[in-house]
């Protein structure tokens, strides 16, 4: 009798799943997530897909709707190749930051894995998307799916009207500048609603039909200008164009003189997509850490409640262990810090500090050490940080010791690395700030800005690369990318490298040089 009661309290047994077990398990997970962990999530939309469809989803950068472009085909071929060779397993899960939150479940997964993915993606990632300040400011989860649908149909229409090659040219150029297509320091404009977009498009189409070259009235250049006047003019110009501008695509979309309205719209679409993914790049460790911590906690809770069997738990733990495995730097499998491992360890560490702090923890984290409420502490951390600030605040000496982190200083003209600091009393702070800096996306992307442009003269567009610590641009991509900028701008474009500290100009190249 007792045995049967125990057996019937299991949510599922065996590895096969069906929709009944899925939704029963979902409900149990949801109860733990909302009542125990106090998570706050978007409604979920769970989609069952096959492994091929998972590959498809990858290739179009994980969007359920994506316009067509050859580069996605290339990525697909690449991913498929790795997968077939067995060099890379398929991700168990894919989740879309949208409202409702879309979670993909693969049909090949066992029931245990489906439970794991449900807890991980539908509650962990989902909570993070909804509550983290970056996502709240930068992305509009409610509008993204509609927007992508619009983008897809709009681009398909453009291809019909203007030919695939013409559309591809603009998209290629815009893709090349995706990294320089975000506002790092000011809040981006919201995605306009459907109606407004239609209005804008109608206006554009009207302009297209009614524009006539006859009405072009450009004042002639003055013959002689004194240097001071020139300076003043430049100042005015910059003010008028809002320079310097760090978001190259935004600048081109608004100010390029040769783009047709539909081309502007394409540039804008690419810019919006880039902006949408920007927060994800900045919160890789936190996002995965949060999701991994959530699935681990929820499944353990269910196991303790007797709702999940031991076999299931073993399988879950095995997958979990694979995901949070961090090889050492000298291991052939090493390819950088594993965000899952680091993130999960951080979350567990915070829980430990809240519940069982050591004296060291109390010194380092007076704010929350031993406060006994790890749930609120975590939820607060998840909401208000990105990787860089999170690591700077929460990486504890205990964790630095656990990972045995050390810092190598790398000087370009030195044949040796120098061990700058290790996991000891003197090194904790330095290790912590070094690792935080390495997760600062803003600092790790080339900082390229529009410095100046003379709209009335030769329309020469000047870009400026602020060189930090002497890290210059790779030459191969630099020239090709400049040519892409030129394609969108229509006139000559030059790029100057300026040392951020001294302000000296290191080099200047222009798109018209046939250097390669």
């Amino acid at each position: 009798m007792e045995k049967r009661a125990k057996a019937s309290s299991l949510l599922f047994s065996g590895s096969d799943w069906n929709f009944q077990t899925l939704s029963r398990t979902y409900d149990a997970i949801e109860t733990v997530a909302l009542d125990d962990l106090k998570l706050d999530v978007y409604p979920n939309q769970m989609e069952i897909i096959s492994s091929e469809q998972m590959l498809d989803a990858y290739a179009s950068i994980g969007m359920p709707l994506m316009y067509q472009h050859w580069s996605f085909g290339k990525h697909f071929i690449h991913e498929e190749h790795l997968y077939r060779k067995g060099r890379r397993g398929l991700a168990y899960e894919l989740v879309i930051n949208s409202n409702p939150c879309i979670v993909y479940l693969m049909e090949e997964n066992t029931m245990a894995l489906q439970a794991l993915v449900t807890a991980h993606a539908a509650f962990g990632h989902n909570h993070f998307f909804k509550n983290n300040y970056l996502f709240q400011q930068w992305t509009d989860a409610g509008a993204i799916l509609n927007y992508m649908e619009f983008a897809k149909t709009y681009i398909a229409r453009c291809e019909e009207r203007h030919g695939i090659a013409a559309v591809e040219q603009i998209l290629d150029a815009a893709h090349a500048l995706m990294d320089q297509a975000v506002f790092r320091y000011r809040r981006p404009p919201r995605l306009s609603s459907e109606k407004e977009r239609d209005r804008i498009r109608e206006r554009l189409e009207y302009e297209e039909q009614s524009f006539s070259d006859l009405w072009r009235t450009l004042p002639r250049r003055k013959e002689s200008i004194t240097p001071s006047e020139a300076e003043r003019e430049a100042q005015e110009r910059k003010k008028f164009l809002n320079l310097p501008e760090e978001n190259l695509l935004y600048f081109l979309e608004k100010n390029s003189l040769i783009l047709e309205p539909w081309q502007r719209e394409l540039v804008r679409i690419v810019r919006i997509v880039a902006q949408y993914f920007y927060p994800q790049r900045q919160t890789k460790v936190m996002n995965e850490g949060c999701a991994t911590f959530v699935h681990y906690t929820i499944l353990n809770t269910l196991f303790d409640q007797g709702k999940v069997g031991e076999g299931t738990m073993l399988e879950v733990l095995q997958s979990h262990a694979n995901v949070v495995f961090q090889p050492n730097f000298d291991d052939p499998r090493y390819s950088g810090l594993n965000p899952y491992a680091l993130g999960f360890a951080l979350m567990q560490d915070i829980e430990r500090i809240c519940m069982k702090p050591t004296s060291e923890d109390r010194d380092w984290f007076p704010d929350f050490a031993g406060n006994g409420d790890w749930r609120a502490t975590l939820i607060d951390a998840w909401a208000n940080h990105r990787d860089e600030s999170f690591l700077r605040q929460y990486l504890s000496p205990a964790l630095i010791r656990k990972f045995r982190l050390f810092v190598l200083a790398d000087e370009p003209d030195d044949s040796h690395y120098k061990v700058a600091s290790i996991h000891d009393e003197r090194g904790y702070d330095k290790v912590r700030s070094a690792i935080a800096n390495s997760y600062d996306v803003g600092a790790n992307r080339p900082d390229i800005q529009v410095a100046d442009v003379d709209l009335l003269g030769d329309r020469h567009l000047r870009l400026q690369h602020m060189v930090q610590n002497g890290v210059v641009l790779a030459e191969a991509g630099r020239q090709a990318t400049l040519r892409h900028v030129r394609r969108l701008w229509g006139y000559n474009v030059s790029l100057a490298g300026v040392d951020a500290e001294s302000g000296n100009q290191l080099y200047e190249v222009s798109a018209d040089e046939t250097a390669n």
Partner: protein, 440 residues
């Protein structure tokens, strides 16, 4: 309770069109790779999957990236075992430090171009045929000899006695007997039994006599009825019906004849090979099994394997007829023309002794053409010669002799080629003829 949606039945291959766009983009380079593979591969392998390296040109996705190994950086690494602050480690050569494996949507590293991916058969053939300026292959049909095989096809009411279907026949007769109420033997027996009993009585009464008379009448009626309604009537008889079914001949053999004397260089051999490949592809669409026989000749001919055929050089004179004789020998030995569709493709630069050319004509006319479905001769000439000769019948001795053969046999095709795009017309001529003759 969330919303579960089953997307498994959605159309697959969402990425297919992106893949095609990518291939279009990389077309030129892929074409070069494909041509290399054809030149170096086996004829029979053309029809399979081909792994090709990802083309680099035209598919790079540039972006502004920090140069590896420039500037001052700090790397944070896990798993320190023995280092203390201040240690110095030599830098490994050609490595810019422990960069994470970042893969953004526009990420494109050098590591993406060093893998191979598999072109599907269609994609590969598209690229291959592009040079050959082929029209749509679907429209084309090869002629072939069809043998017939009888196949059971229901029943008929007329036929040879050997083909009577007893079961069917008896079923019909049974039904008819029931319908026409043919008296059964049992009824007859019971009546005659009763009659016999009554007749055996010593002094039959009036009633008995009347009964006997009645019975006799019955018996006569029954017998008459039985006679009238036959046990098996011609109406019942069914014969097995046979239908001759055209049987496509599933086997074909393709003879590749080539002159390998010194006058055939790399270019000539490459053209010849393309021509053979094309023929093989056509045949492959029609036949389940294709054998290829390679016969090379100088002043003597021998059957060789593909490798030797294309890549080993032999020196000697040129006597074409030897190859034809060799082909005849192989046909007699292994490929009876009743069972095999025989195709022959001959490539040569046209060098031949004059008297031998006549001999070749004789051989073809009297023997070989009878056996062959199709005989194609390509003469490989210089680009410069191609507009001198044009389509005149003037040419090498072999060409002139073969012209006579061509007049006589509709399934003999010949052409001069100087570049890959010249190859296809050889086939087209033949198929155009086919369709014309079908129309009559």
């Amino acid at each position: 309770m969330p919303n579960y949606i089953d997307r498994r039945l959605n159309p697959k291959d969402k990425s297919l069109s992106n893949r095609q766009r990518f291939l279009r983009r990389a077309r030129d380079e892929l074409k070069r790779i494909v041509n290399d593979q054809i030149t170096s591969g086996k004829i029979t392998d053309v029809d399979g999957d081909h792994a090709v390296p990802v083309p680099v040109r035209g598919t790079a996705e540039p972006s502004f990236q920090h140069a590896q190994g420039s500037g001052r950086r700090d790397h944070v690494l896990p798993g320190n075992k023995e280092f203390v602050t201040g240690d110095r480690l030599p830098k490994p050569s050609g490595q810019g430090g422990g960069g994470g494996a970042g893969k953004g949507p526009s990420g494109s590293g050098g590591d993406e171009d060093d893998f191979r991916f598999v072109l599907s058969r269609e994609e590969f053939l598209d690229l291959f045929f592009e040079d050959l300026e082929l029209p749509d292959l679907i429209k084309l049909n090869l002629k072939e000899v069809v043998s017939f095989k009888s196949r059971r096809a229901g029943y008929t009411i007329a036929g040879a006695p050997t083909n009577i279907n007893v079961g069917r026949t008896m079923r019909n007769s049974f039904g008819r007997r029931i319908a026409l109420r043919r008296p059964k033997l049992k009824e007859l027996d019971s009546v005659s039994e009763e009659l016999a009993k009554l007749e055996a009585k010593p002094q039959p009464g009036a009633a008995v006599r009347a009964r006997i008379a009645l019975l006799r009448e019955d018996l006569a009626k029954l017998r008459r009825r039985r006679k009238l309604i036959g046990y098996v009537d011609p109406v019942d008889i069914r014969f097995n019906r046979f239908e001759p079914q055209p049987l496509p001949n599933a086997k074909a053999v393709m003879f590749c004849l080539m002159d390998v004397s010194g006058s055939m260089g790399e270019r000539e051999k490459d053209l010849a090979k393309r021509f053979f490949v094309l023929l093989h592809l056509f045949l492959k669409r029609r036949y389940e099994r294709i054998d290829i026989v390679f016969i090379r000749h100088t002043h003597e001919a021998q059957e060789v394997d593909e490798e030797t055929f294309f890549y080993s050089t032999q020196s000697g004179g040129t006597v074409v007829s030897t190859a034809l004789k060799e082909m005849q020998r192989v046909i007699e030995e292994r490929y009876p023309s009743k069972e095999w569709n025989i195709y022959a493709a001959q490539a040569s630069d046209g060098d031949n002794g004059y008297d031998d050319s006549d001999y070749c004509t004789m051989l073809l006319n009297s023997e070989v053409m009878r056996l062959c479905q199709y005989y194609a001769y390509v003469e490989i000439i210089d680009e410069r010669e191609s507009h001198i000769f044009g389509s005149t019948d003037n040419g090498t001795s072999l060409w002139r002799s073969y012209c006579k053969v061509g007049e006589k046999w509709p399934n003999f095709q010949m052409t001069r080629i100087a570049k890959p795009s010249d190859i296809y017309p050889v086939f087209r001529k033949l198929f155009a003829k086919q369709q014309a003759s079908k129309g009559q």
